[in-house]
Amino acid sequence: MTPEETAEIRRRRKSRNIALALVLAFFVLLFYAITIARMG
């Protein structure tokens, strides 16, 4: 595997991890909001 390919894999992995972190953070907030709404 060339250094360019390794760099490309790292770049893609990083962007996917950021996307996944944002999705997870969103669901944490959503479940918190759902809990509050269901208790009300």
């Binding site: 893609r12 962007s15 996917r16 996307a19 959503l30 909001a33 759902i34 709404a37 009300g40």
Partner: protein, 307 residues
């Protein structure tokens, strides 16, 4: 694109998040979200905004899961058609199994969250819609019958029903009528498009009506569905499920729909035909569905404001 494809198929690069997003068929999802939201807003009763948002999110995630499962199952067919050959799997940007896993995850998560946070009946309908689209339509009927668009319309007809049930918790005549409206609207909408866009479904072995039964039959069926659609769109008014704002809008819109379907249904195209009536009907059919559902919501808002 070709350079990208060659690179991707030569070395197994991990797919980008954009490719996962493309699996969810975002354009289809926008219509699903709109009709689901209209069902939710038009339903009698109140829903907490957070729970309502969650219901729409689950409908969108379920539709996205269906889209991903569809692309997983149809990767071979997609590779044989110009319109779909650039999708993540046939272009080599994503492994087929990744699409399957992503689709299953979205489907399971959407149904689970809908059940826990909103309502289990709505969750059951969402699960049914996903199975209907991915298994019943994609796997079984699409490759077998030229009526596949009619059956596929059923999958698109679920969102307003699910949105409505998320609020009321039961299935009554009104949400079933909303289901019937989209169900009957889909064939003339899609076949009008099929008449003027020369697709390569035949190459992919999918029996689309204009290819299998010919243009004449397709035109007759477009007209027939448009005529049947008219009384069905008025039914919510007759059963007093919606008021005059909706009734008058539905009458005007559906009469226009029939009026535009008549020339499409009765004429025969010539070589090098501009297909103007078909293009006009197709464009209007999109506006029609948005306007009809918007009228339903406006009707409910006005009744709510007056009460």
């Amino acid at each position: 694109m070709s350079v990208m494809t060659a690179t991707a198929s030569a070395t197994p690069l991990p797919a980008e998040w954009r490719d996962f997003f493309a699996l969810t068929k975002p354009r289809v999802m926008s219509l699903v979200v709109f009709t689901g939201l209209c069902g939710l807003l038009a339903a009698p009763g109140n829903i907490h905004p957070v729970i309502g948002f969650t219901a729409i999110l689950c409908i969108a995630l379920g539709a996205g899961g269906s889209g991903a499962l569809n692309m997983w199952l149809e990767a071979d067919i997609d590779a044989r058609m110009k319109r779909t050959e650039g999708r993540p799997i046939p272009s080599g940007r994503m492994r087929r199994e990744d699409a399957r896993d992503f689709g299953v995850m979205l489907a399971v998560a959407s149904v689970g969250i809908m059940g826990v946070a909103v309502h289990w009946l709505a969750a059951g309908l969402l699960a049914l819609s996903i199975v209907y689209y991915a298994v019943f339509y994609t796997l079984w009927l699409k490759p077998r019958t030229p009526q596949n668009i009619v059956i596929g319309g059923g999958a698109g007809a679920f969102p307003p029903l699910i949105g409505w049930v998320a609020v009321t918790g039961d299935i009554t005549a009104m949400p079933l009528l909303l289901f019937a409206i989209i169900f009957l609207w889909t064939p003339p909408h899609f076949w009008a498009l099929a008449l003027f866009v020369k697709s390569d479904y035949a190459n992919a072995g999918i029996p689309m009506l204009p290819v299998v039964r010919g243009e004449r039959t397709t035109r007759r069926q477009i007209l027939a569905y448009s005529v049947v659609l008219l009384p069905v769109t008025l039914a919510p008014w007759w059963i007093r499920g919606a008021g005059a704002v909706y009734g008058v809008s539905a009458l005007a819109l559906s009469l226009a729909f029939v009026a535009l379907s008549v020339p499409v249904g009765l004429r025969t195209s010539t070589a090098a035909d501009a297909m103007t009536p078909e293009k006009r009907l197709f464009k209007f059919s999109i506006l029609y569905l948005f306007a009809l559902f918007a009228a339903l919501v406006a009707d409910r808002m006005l009744v709510g404001a007056a009460a």
